[in-house]
């Protein structure tokens, strides 16, 4: 850990534009079949050009405002704060259209896809949140949508499958491998190879080949940018002492962190014990990027396990791996029991039933409050990435 300070000082400004070939330190890159290199390059070029275009940004900002309900509020968790002895502010992505932060990214990519002349979106989904968001954006912009979903998830998430179909999307059950998110992602990539000229692959988190981790973070940074302004108005210190978000692939966390990377705020990513790519993973390459993955000694990828379907991914976005290397963010884990208890506690204290993914962040704050990690009196911004409606059936089983 002695090296940390030097590394940090030497590091380029954290969370800026990634280095050459989409690198975040040692991580990132574009490890895709040659057949997809050109497609990725086109996405990158189109994104860089669009992102530099105030017209595109304005169009996206308008969609986010009039369709998705941005800005989302910053809610002081009065009662939980009093109980925990810290000042806890919740960034309410659960109030965004379709119920989570996923819509921010998806509207950005859908708009980009339309600008690129693509007529169809491809997406992978686990619990179905990203799939529903993609189907939503596609409907809104008059695009088609094909969503790949592990066969097991199709069975477990019948309601979301129906929502996607109602929104006009085609849902393709994936029978390969473990028949869950990891395999749906592989299948979406395979499918993209054949249709890259007409379809855009709408990746759901800060994962995938370059430029996806950067692009998705930029589309999600609206969370952090808004929260930064809102904290400035809500806190005497303007900037919170701690910034906390759950991490699956890491998009809500990346979007949140991006707003605070240049502040003294400590950044915390909370992972599921059984899907802790950043906290417990080892360097590797999957789905087009180099990062940290749960894997065995041979390099075979492990299946992730979490009560929160959205955290059921064995890896983590490359920028998180880099932030961990830099020591700029820290990654911690909570277990399923802590998560369900935290969900109930937040519901009772604040009248908010969080997504089980988001409850991971809450669980860690509950555990850490008052400890050396999160001393009493701290101010904490927590991104509540989604609402718990989708998880009620799961909770009914376990509570």
């Amino acid at each position: 850990m002695m090296g940390d300070v030097a590394t940090r000082a030497a590091a380029p400004r954290a969370m800026g534009v990634p280095g050459e070939r989409g690198r975040f330190g040692d991580h990132g890159g574009r490890y895709v079949p040659e057949s997809l290199v050109e497609a990725c390059r086109e996405v990158e070029e189109a994104f860089r050009e669009a992102w530099a275009d105030p017209g595109f940004r304005g169009e996206l900002a308008t969609l986010l405002a009039v369709h998705a309900g941005r800005p989302t509020p910053l809610t002081p968790a009065w009662r939980l704060s009093a109980e925990l002895g810290v000042t806890l502010l919740l960034k309410r992505e659960d109030l965004a259209h379709t119920g989570s932060h996923k819509i921010n990214n998806v509207l950005g990519q859908a708009l980009l896809a339309a600008r690129m002349g693509r007529t169809r979106l491809i997406a992978e989904t686990g619990a179905g949140q990203h799939g529903v968001a993609t189907a939503t954006a596609a409907a809104l912009l008059g695009l088609e949508a094909t969503v790949f979903m592990g066969e097991r998830d199709v069975e477990r998430q019948a309601l979301n499958v129906f929502r996607m179909r109602m929104l006009g999307a085609e849902v393709v059950p994936v029978r390969a491998g473990t028949r869950t998110l990891k395999d749906a992602t592989s299948e979406a990539m395979r499918h993209w190879v054949g249709v890259a000229g007409s379809a855009h692959y709408c990746v759901g988190s800060v994962i995938g080949p370059s430029p996806y981790p950067y692009m998705v973070r930029e589309f999600q940074r609206v969370i952090g940018d808004e929260a930064r302004r809102q904290c400035a108005a809500a806190l005497p210190s303007a900037v919170p002492d701690h910034v906390v978000a759950c991490v699956g692939g890491g998009s809500n966390a990346a979007g949140t962190f991006a707003g605070f990377a240049d502040t003294p705020a400590r950044l915390w990513g909370v992972e599921a014990e059984g899907g802790a790519g950043a906290a417990l993973g080892r360097p590797g390459v999957l789905h087009g990027f180099r990062s940290l993955f749960l894997q065995d000694d041979d390099g075979q990828i492990r299946e992730a396990h979490s009560i929160a379907a959205g955290l059921d991914y064995p890896g983590v976005g490359p920028e998180h791996a880099h932030l961990r290397d830099l020591g700029r963010a820290r990654y911690v884990t909570v277990d399923d029991g802590e998560v369900t208890a935290a969900a109930v506690r937040l519901a009772r204290a604040e009248g908010i039933v969080p997504a089980l993914e988001s409850a991971h962040a809450v669980a860690w704050v509950i555990r850490a409050a008052g400890s050396g990690e999160l001393p009493a009196g701290s101010t904490v911004l927590l991104t509540l990435s989604g609402r718990g409606d989708k998880d009620v059936a799961t909770l009914m089983e376990v509570l």
Partner: protein, 261 residues
């Protein structure tokens, strides 16, 4: 020039069309017998897949084969040990696998292990040329040829770079898709082979979807040879024994040798 490329060039220059059959390492307890059958049927090189949990560029057949091999307990170490047992074959062995297995202990260690096991070539489908520096150095250091892939979507300058930096041969991907048998070879396939041969005199093998002697002949019209993977593994998964696969390849060999027949 390492052993693999030297051999392939020599054969090509002698007017022979090249045949590289594929088998998933560990797919059966005696999987190396398939490699022996390949050699007996006149393979010019043998591709051995080290199965990976998440084969993102493979179609259902090789996915299934990888899954089956892993379920049987196949490991990279085990597959390489199997390779070492094939040292007596006078056919270059080319290992194919995904980045994650190459990088697990680092490409230097991986390539050294390949070398030790007697492999002379390496294919990593999710390692495009832009990301290949370190692996290429490691392979070169170990005397292993790292063959790069080219695809119908690859633009001209990039194709030149791939052709230049590939070692052993250039792996021309016949179509925009995953591995797996196809009923017909698309026009993109031979066009790509032609584009590459126009850029480099390195042998060009066309792969993905070649499943019949007729397709092999058609492919070999512009390419220097073919890779046959899923067509073999489909049979293996259906229970075909090495001698049956040998017969299948013999027919292909004959067609390549005598396209007019």
């Amino acid at each position: 020039m390492n052993a693999l490329e030297t051999r392939l060039r020599a054969r090509r220059d002698a007017g022979r069309k090249l045949l590289m059959p594929y088998v998933t390492g560990g797919i059966t307890p005696d999987w190396t017998e398939y490699a022996r059958a390949f050699a007996a049927a006149g393979a010019d090189a043998i591709e051995i897949g080290v199965p990976f949990s998440d084969p993102t560029l493979d179609g259902v057949t090789i996915q299934e084969a990888s899954h089956a091999a892993l379920t049987r307990g196949a490991t990279p170490r085990g597959v390489l040990a199997g390779l070492a047992g094939l040292a007596d074959l006078d056919v270059p062995l080319v290992v194919s696998t995904y980045c994650n297995l190459v990088f697990r202990d680092g490409p230097w260690a991986f390539c050294a292990a390949l070398r030790e096991a007697g492999a002379s070539g390496l294919i990593v489908p999710d390692l495009p040329v832009d990301e290949a520096d370190e692996a290429a150095d490691a392979a070169a250091g170990a005397g292993v040829d790292l063959a790069l892939l080219a695809s119908p979507a690859t633009p001209a300058p990039r194709l030149a770079e791939i052709s230049r930096r590939s070692r052993g041969f250039v792996y021309a991907v016949s179509l925009m898709g995953t591995t797996g048998t196809r009923s017909a070879l698309g026009p993109a396939a031979t066009a790509l082979a032609g584009r590459i041969t126009g850029l480099s005199d390195r042998p060009v093998l066309l792969g993905f979807g070649i499943s019949t002697p007729g397709q092999a002949v058609e492919a070999a019209r512009r390419a220097d040879g073919v890779v046959v993977g899923a067509a073999i593994m489909r049979r293996v998964l259906a229970g075909a024994r090495p001698d049956e696969i040998g017969a299948f390849l013999t027919a292909m060999r004959e067609a390549l040798d005598d396209p007019g027949a």
